[in-house]
């Protein structure tokens, strides 16, 4: 058990390390560097030389990578090219705002998805299942910017219930984001719920067909007792991983939603930093999002392991 945990941790660390290399190489590929972005038109001759000297951009890529990765491990993400501010400060509020969005969506979405998924599976091919499943397909396949725009049109433009655009500044207290944050949360919840409920549904259906569920039925165990004692605990276990993947995806997919709503979160900051060639910021955000992805998946694996006695002892599943 402990060895397995350590192995998982090790693999997670390796993934983050590989990601850091990919990010570094990817950003190296971009034309221009921090100094050309910072100096803009004056980026030539002595000025450019001095700036590169100051920031140590004249050193070899390997040294710079080691320096960047080393500081990142210590929590120092460097300074942004535009305005020369500490990135950890800039990112802090943005990360908080994105987390507000994500946790709002999770709080509503996960219970809703579990409930709807189980209901759809238990009444499989009945009206409720057809409605839920069809809506889920619509919600998860339609691009986020389409559902976001549609919701703005209906709830903001036509009905006028909630604001369709966020005007609060990034460092405002969380409370000021209400009610502006409601629509972005709704869009995120919609997509997330659809993904999770589909897995829950198929997982419950699979479990219903299992030998032990059939056995319990044949023994004459009451239906609802089978559902609560046998089906749900076994069926919901595999969904932990899908929830994790969805959360991780959510942090990336949130980029589009944040742009549509003008929401001052991490995703929009990433897009802005790419457009502005603010490479240190791009690198930092990419690293944060990738780390969150790895950590969330790791947490899901550990949770699954703890919840499933078989996985605690048997050799680890094939990755």
């Amino acid at each position: 058990m402990l060895a397995m945990l350590l192995r998982r941790l090790g693999l997670g660390a390796i993934t983050v390390w590989l990601v850091s290399i990919i990010i570094f190489v990817g950003v190296e590929m971009l034309p221009g560097d921090t100094c050309t972005a910072f100096l803009e038109r004056e980026a030539q001759g002595k000025l450019l030389e001095n700036c590169r000297e100051d920031l140590g951009l004249n050193r070899s890529a390997l040294v710079r990578y080691a320096d960047w990765a080393g500081s990142a491990v210590r929590g120092d993400l460097g300074v942004s090219a535009n305005g020369q501010k500490q990135i950890s400060e800039l990112v802090g509020y943005r990360l908080r705002n994105t987390l507000l969005l994500a946790s709002g969506a999770m709080l509503v979405g996960i219970p809703l998805a579990l409930f709807l998924g189980v209901v759809a599976a238990l009444w499989r091919d009945k009206l409720v299942d057809i409605v839920v499943s069809t809506t889920a397909i619509f919600a998860m396949t339609i691009p986020e910017f389409v559902s976001a725009t549609l919701l703005i049109l209906v709830f903001s433009v036509w009905l006028g219930w909630v604001p369709g655009i966020v005007l609060t500044s990034a460092d405002a207290p969380l409370i000021e984001f209400f009610p502006e944050v409601l629509l972005p949360i709704a869009v995120l919840t919609l997509v997330m719920t659809a993904h999770i409920l589909r897995t829950v549904r198929s997982s419950v259906i699979e479990t219903l067909a299992s030998d032990y569920a059939q056995m319990a039925t044949l023994k004459g165990v009451p239906y609802w007792q089978i559902v609560f004692r046998h089906i749900l605990p076994n069926a919901l276990l595999p969904t932990i991983n899908v929830v994790a993947l969805t959360i991780a995806w959510l942090l990336g997919g949130v980029v589009v939603i944040e742009t549509v709503f003008n929401y001052p979160g991490l995703g929009r900051m990433m897009i802005d930093s790419i457009s502005d060639r603010d490479l240190p910021v791009t690198q930092a955000i990419a690293l944060i999002i990738a780390s969150v992805y790895v950590v969330v998946n790791l947490a899901a694996d550990i949770l699954t392991m703890l919840a499933n006695p078989r996985l605690r002892t048997v050799h680890m599943r094939k990755g």
Partner: protein
């Protein structure tokens, strides 16, 4: 010597026919396939049936309401919305239609190869795949697009490259799955060469998984493509494209909601069509794709 068999393996065409009839046997599959084929047809004949030129601007028509001459009204530049909506999928279908087979091809080959090779190389590759998958798609795409530009010649290889990476996983898993089966052991016992086993036993079985995966990749790719257009990193104006049209018309939503609704219907119907078809295809081929994660 005469060989008599009571069973002849149906030809390629016959098997394709069976697959199609299996897909349309389900209402959802029939609807899906109709939507997809309709969109493909529209992409081909679109330029011949649209009522106006998609670049034609008419200042008198700016944000006009639907009329007999302009069924869906006009956009903020006075261009006919119906014309632009009908043509709005061509670029997306062209780009993703080329990029999807490329992605499935390279991802599939790499996945099968490493699935067969196994061992340390395989382990290392999977870590690299994981690392790539842990980065948000939009970041990966934008870095390449910002570097090389937003033309078709950049978008196709970029989409093909990044959407091939998850295919590696699927192909590798399917390969592992097949290699352990009895019929592969039987082929080995019969003394077939490695090449023959791969061609005759492995590929036909992995192909099904890749076919379904390809259909799914196509829909994710369309989603990515239109999102990029929406964000201003995709096709460049005045090319009509649903994502771009929605981005443009968004500001005028309260005056002319049809400006956003029309391209929305176009894009959504294609993506839903692909998904319904992919679902039906998976069921027809006996593959469960419900466990798919949204990566």
């Amino acid at each position: 010597m005469t060989v008599t068999t009571s069973y002849r393996r149906p030809g390629r065409l016959a098997r394709f026919g069976t697959l199609i009839s299996d897909i349309v046997a389900r209402p959802s599959g029939a609807i899906g396939l109709t939507l997809v084929l309709g969109h493909l047809l529209l992409a081909f004949i679109g330029p011949f049936i649209v009522p106006y030129d998609f670049t034609e601007m008419n200042s008198g028509l700016m944000l006009s309401k639907p009329s007999a001459a302009h069924w869906l009204g006009a956009d903020h530049l006075g261009r006919d919305t119906l014309t632009r909506t009908l043509l709005g999928g061509r670029e997306a279908i062209l780009v993703t239609g080329i990029a999807t087979p490329l992605a499935v091809l390279w991802g599939g080959l790499v996945g099968i190869f490493f699935g067969l090779a196994g061992g340390r190389v395989d382990e290392v590759l999977m870590r690299v795949v994981d690392a790539f998958l842990s980065l948000p798609w939009i970041l990966k795409m934008l870095v390449l697009i910002v570097t090389f530009g937003t033309g078709i010649e950049v978008l196709i290889p970029t989409l093909a490259f990044f959407y091939g990476i998850p295919v590696i996983r699927i192909a590798r898993a399917a390969t592992h799955d097949v290699v352990a089966r009895d019929f592969v052991q039987a082929a080995r016992a019969r003394g077939h060469s490695r090449g023959t086993i791969i061609r005759r036993e492995l590929l036909p079985n992995v192909r099904d998984a890749l076919l379904v995966e390809g259909a799914m990749r196509w829909s994710w790719m369309l989603l990515a493509f239109s999102s990029l257009s929406f964000l201003g990193f995709g096709v460049s104006p005045p090319t009509p494209d649903w994502g771009l049209m929605i981005a443009d018309a968004r500001g005028f939503m309260s005056f002319s909601p049809l400006g956003v609704l029309a391209p929305m219907v176009g894009l959504s119907s294609l993506i839903i069509g692909i998904n319904l078809t992919a679902d039906a295809l998976a069921k027809a081929l006996g593959i469960d794709r419900a466990q798919k994660a949204p990566v």
